[in-house]
Amino acid sequence: MSHPADLKYTKSHEYIKILDGNKIRVGITDHAQNELGDITYVELPDVGAEYSINDPFGVVESVKAVSDIMMPVDGKIVETNAALEDAAELINEDPYEKGWLIVVEMNDPSQLDALMSKEEYEAQL
């Protein structure tokens, strides 16, 4: 399983890729998709919706379980991955590129400091 070094991670298995400005891209980690098994359905939020840190913003359903996905920071949804609607398997096949979930505009970028590095994430698995 791979967890790229340039990403940040949460205890609840979301990864965070830092984009330009105040934006981040969020998805679930390779470990998470592997644990869940084949993903069959994803429920994503509406663009424009605002969430607080640790709020569930979406749902991932696999043949094994239905799991909430949590906001890693406070912020507003500015983009969601429409391709997942017909092809949830992209999360299994390519969690970091084609299988991303949402792009968030952060309220407070300093919240990123509390997230884990690749090494910290893998150490607690």
Binding site: Y41, V63, K64, A65, S67, A88, E89
Partner: protein, 485 residues
């Protein structure tokens, strides 16, 4: 053994029938002359056409593929798949019950109304509550009814801001679903490392927005929430109500009562704890019991007594009907028969043996399978196949498939979510020591095979018409009806 049965559509032959409506007396009428065209089909419905014998063979053969409690061991955790005594069936088949009609006047339905009234009293006694309704038709339906009562209570008191329902992370999946359906917001409460509700995790939620908390005791790990009195005290002090999910009540009969633990509302599953048919053999029944301060909100009509006769009463503050007539009456008769057959001592013995059987299996299996919460269990316990996954690449699902080949229904799998590779096992009191030993042998044999020849486990099941259907494809692209060419 591998032979996939044709569907009823595939054995259909145009024009083949097992009846004839042609005779001298019955006139033949044309539908076009009787009904307006807008009410008529443009094309005939493509119904299967088979002979009577084909039909009987088709469904008899399908039924043989079924696995029920009458076929073999069925240790499905939290589902309490206990034997359904034939005595229950005999009582429910008595003509006075079987041929009664819910619209019959009260004066000819006194016996049936008496069964409802007395069963409510029995449930009050067993669960330590003041009043029961037998209307809800299933466990989740009972939960929903209970939550509507919580809502009615807070609205009655003008506390409309109380919208938060707390649910432990080990809760049954239906708990959050029912709360949401009843218009509440959910907050999950974490468990301690010992698998019990963390009292500290409750405290941030104890405020004016708290509507109540839903709890299963023993919980889904099969552990008794020993801090229950402290928990109910905290919730009550904050103005919330306590809801008891009765799915695991088979551990407590005659030993402890949710009413004594401080619960305000409980549900019972007659199709689990009280031996009425479960699952596809249903229908079910999920009665709800309440303490006296909530009685006026129960679904109406209620069965009461007026001038020494049983009669139906309406309650002005009731949440209203939740089911047509009086719930699934045939199921109520079966549960009534079971309770009368066993009596108080028999019911207590039921729970004692259920707990003993679970502990026996737990002790026999914990050497080869991981047991994350290693303590005395109640009526069920949760193993983990994490060791088999790491050492042999065999996951919980594969162990399930291997069990099917041994004629055993798989346990509840991948639940509760707080245990990885969870296998939740509930043997119930109705299984003999020999059956339990056969299950232990099967589980140990699967573990041995997994270590020696994992591929053999990954290939199971071999003894079923279909081996491993493509679950992912079925979930992503379900085809739910026959595809005519």
């Amino acid at each position: 053994m591998r032979s996939v049965q044709k569907t009823i559509f595939e054995i259909s032959k145009k024009g083949r029938k097992s009846y004839s409506l042609i005779n001298d007396e019955t006139p033949i009428l044309n539908a076009d002359d009787l009904f307006d065209k807008s009410y008529l089909r443009e094309q005939d419905a493509r119904l299967p056409e088979v002979s009577e014998m084909d039909l009987v063979r088709h469904f008899t053969n399908l039924s043989r593929r079924n696995h029920g409690i009458d076929n073999g061991f069925y240790p499905l955790g939290s589902c309490t798949m206990k034997y359904n005594p034939r005595f229950n069936e005999a009582m429910a088949s008595l003509p006075g019950f079987e041929e009664s009609h819910p619209n019959s006047p009260e004066w000819v339905s006194q016996g049936s109304l008496k069964i409802i009234h007395e069963l409510e009293k029995f449930m009050c006694e067993i669960f330590g509550m003041d009043a029961f309704t037998l209307q809800p038709a299933a466990g989740a339906h009972g939960e929903f009814t209970g939550l509507l009562i919580i809502r009615a209570f807070h609205e009655y008191n003008g506390d409309t801001q109380r919208k938060i329902i707390l649910v432990p992370d080990s809760a049954h999946g239906t708990n959050p679903a029912s709360a949401k359906m009843a218009g509440f917001e959910l907050k999950q409460v974490a468990s301690t490392p010992g698998g019990l509700v963390d009292l500290e995790a409750l405290k941030p939620h104890l405020n004016d927005n708290l509507a109540g908390m839903m709890l299963t005791n023993p919980n889904t790990l099969g552990l008794f929430e020993k801090d229950i009195l402290d928990m109910t005290k905290l919730i009550h002090e904050a103005g919330g109500l306590l809801y008891y999910d009765g799915a695991n009540a088979n551990a407590l009969l005659g030993i402890s009562r949710p009413g004594m633990m401080g619960f305000d509302i409980v549900h019972a599953n007659l199709h689990k704890t009280f031996s009425t048919p479960h699952g596809g053999g249903g229908p079910g029944s999920g009665p709800i019991g309440v303490k006296s301060h909530l009685e006026k909100f129960l679904p109406s009509p209620r069965v009461g007594i007026h001038l020494d006769k049983f009669t139906l009463l309406d309650l002005p503050d009731s949440i209203g009907r939740v089911k047509s007539f009086h719930g699934n009456f045939g199921v109520l008769v079966r549960a009534y028969a079971y309770i009368r057959l066993l009596g108080p001592e028999g019911l207590k013995r039921t729970s004692q043996i259920a707990v003993l059987n679970a502990n026996y299996l737990q002790e026999k299996l914990k050497g080869k399978y991981n047991l994350d919460y290693d303590t005395r269990c109640m009526h069920e316990f949760v193993l983990s196949a994490e060791r088999q996954k790491e050492e042999c690449g065999v996951i919980a699902k594969d162990i399930d498939k291997a069990l099917i080949d041994k004629g055993i229904h798989p346990p509840t799998t991948y639940f509760p979510l707080i245990v990885h590779e969870a296998l939740m096992i509930e043997p119930t009191e109705t299984e003999s020591l020999e059956t339990l030993d056969d299950f232990v042998d099967a589980m140990l044999d699967i573990d041995k095979t997994a270590h020696e020849n994992p591929d053999a486990v990954l290939k199971t099941p071999m003894n079923t018409p279909v081996g491993r259907p493509d679950e992912t494809k079925a979930a992503r692209n379900p085809i739910l009806k026959f595809q005519f060419e």
